[in-house]
Symmetry: C2
Amino acid sequence: MMNKPEATVSGNKSCEVGKSKVRDRIFDTACELFYEHGIRCVGVDAIANAAGTNKMSFYRSFPSKDDLVLEYLREHERAHWEWWDATIAPHHGAPEKQIMALFEGQLAKSRKKDKHGCAFLNAMVEIRETEHPAREVVYAYKAETRRRFRKLAKEAGAQTPDVLGDALTLIASGNAMSSISFSCQDGPVVNSPKIVKKLLEAYLQ
Amino acid sequence: MMNKPEATVSGNKSCEVGKSKVRDRIFDTACELFYEHGIRCVGVDAIANAAGTNKMSFYRSFPSKDDLVLEYLREHERAHWEWWDATIAPHHGAPEKQIMALFEGQLAKSRKKDKHGCAFLNAMVEIRETEHPAREVVYAYKAETRRRFRKLAKEAGAQTPDVLGDALTLIASGNAMSSISFSCQDGPVVNSPKIVKKLLEAYLQ
DNA sequence: TACGTGTGTTACCGTTCAGTAACATGAATC
DNA sequence: GATTCATGTTACTGAACGGTAACACACGTA
């Protein structure tokens, strides 16, 4: 269980161009199902069927469900930082605006699709085996979030950047949590941009 | 599944005095195991064995695992509000102090035993069936938390008590989330009292 | 034509888990 | 002593799930 695959298929052309089509379909389907219904609720059979294939093809693409879960989290991680970078990019050199953009973006996302909370936290709750590699992805994600918020706070000129950074980290976490535990349309997340603005005022003189 | 039991045993003495001893042992054990390892990870057999009994005795006390889960959450709810009331009681009439006491208390708890996040949120992640009664307990808990923080903010004299209340709600949620996703000793939660103090200063003139 | 490769299909295995049936025991009560 | 009631014990059912074996087919390429 949980050993590195190193490619079951090794040197064929389709693999270099775009991996396998079936594999992609399975992976995309799994990501949706895992986020919407949870990791443990979604079986291998269900994923394969929803992807229009079957369990055997699943196991030709992924050595185990655990490997798929790990890949699912890594993909979430990648997409998240891509979103983060794209969100702050238009305000280069203006850390306060970057921070505001992040929280407005999070609010916008919470209105659309992120109805099931934070994929990383959900994974943490569902996977309790301490040695499971998925947990390290989550730890890394949380640590990186904190680091980035503290960095932004420092760039914004806060006297206590670590404290402001942690405040932003906590608000962001709280937002993610809200989206799963409140009927989404008017949870506390709607006030988070206002709150963050106030925090910035308070901590930047 | 999930029907009201209305007491399998009805009129014996031991039931009126202290319910059944076995039942209590099972329930206490289940609460610990559910919180530590998650609801889905802990089977009925494991609970019964850890409580020093067996599955049959379990099913004589609880009509189903789902009923036990529901009771587990209600117990968490009861204990939480008991803690809340006890925490703010010494500062009656001083809402600012009450708020600070809550967050200092949360920090103290996070240092001790709450290493596995928020029991309600965890349940929300593990139980995805929308019709499951456990979800309503969580919704109620979150709504009540928000209501209480907004009330405290109002009593403290905030111009925008709903916004300050939501800020406190978000920080508290973020704290709970931190305890599951950071190596606990120095997550952002350690700065939460400072942050809350700053928030109070900012919102109360 | 022959072959390799990716995929579909069916039928399995072994395990875990919620829940039940039937019976045994031991202590208190009448 | 007979009854009652809570509890223990063993064995079972049926379903879900992760994972595998064996075989069939279709298609492109040499």
